[in-house]
Symmetry: C3
Subunit: 132 residues, 3 copies
């Protein structure tokens, strides 16, 4: 369980760092709040942060619920792959947004795997007569 906690905290810290990069890009490229457009490179950093937010809302509940069906080691592995995927995504997106697919796939793949594992677990519990 403490490994799962560690991975979740790392995912949250990574998201904070992505937010800091957006703030830095605001200054660097002269995009004043409340604007979120106006300079291509700023927009790339901003989209990386938003896309990461969209994945976190999937990853965190998936990791949490998976604890009822999978060992913490597998869940932590999924989270670790996500963390690496996000770094790949950030680097690719900022360099060239059209190259973002691989990093995105690498970070959503473990989320999909967790969701499938939960569905299988729910199905097995149901057929074994666990009360709904």
């Amino acid at each position: 369980m403490i490994l799962v906690h560690l991975i979740v905290v790392l995912a949250l810290i990574q998201f904070i760092v992505f937010g800091i990069l957006v703030g830095r890009a605001r200054g660097q490229y002269g995009v004043k709040a409340p604007a979120t457009t106006g300079h291509e490179i700023f927009e790339r950093y901003y989209r990386v942060q938003m896309n990461t937010l969209e994945l976190l809302i999937l990853l965190l509940p998936a990791m949490w619920i998976a604890l009822s069906y999978l060992s913490p080691a597998w869940i932590s592995l999924a989270g670790a792959i996500y963390l690496v995927g996000r770094v790949v995504y950030l680097r690719a997106y900022v360099k060239d947004p059209s190259k973002r697919a691989f990093g995105f796939g690498l970070s959503i793949m473990p989320i999909n795997a967790l969701l499938i594992a939960i569905l299988v677990g729910v199905g097995m519990h149901y057929f074994n007569g666990v009360p709904i």
Copy 2:
């Protein structure tokens, strides 16, 4: 509990599908990343996804905490109404954004109900002397 897990996973999969629709609309209407504007129909799909993100951050903790105060059957019913509400919202918004209110109401109503149930439950626990 497995029914609540199932409903949460369905809400997450629904959000992934909304994301896929945004990606498809990017290609269809020629809105290249990192832009999120440039074609009205793309923007409608994008706003549906963002609005769903805003509701998920409410729904998921509300369902989770409600487990301390409500039966899983009621919580699952709330989640199921949310799921239907989101489909209504998607269809209405993409057709005509000014018609989005009913689907929005249908998907936030069960969230409000869960929040009220938690507040009542917290209040009852407090007056029954449950330690804070």
Copy 3:
């Protein structure tokens, strides 16, 4: 535990209120969906809501996991400071976006404190031989 539940529900209700303010600003300043730009004051309210979403995805899991390492009273205090910080942030941002730093700091500071407490807790558990 019921105090932590109460604080989480208050944070969710606060986010709903911020969403209502965005909706009201839509009407007031004539920004029709799906647009999220077009009037400076609307954009300020919208950015307050989005920034709050970015913090909620940090705060909620941090509060949850912290329950394994900290007393509910400390976690509730962190959440209460966050709530105040968000009100300060809203008022400052809508008045003048360049003055938003203090409110932002006040609302992310308790999140950072929770994350650090979790990291310390995980480390102590690990060195005390708690299985990962």
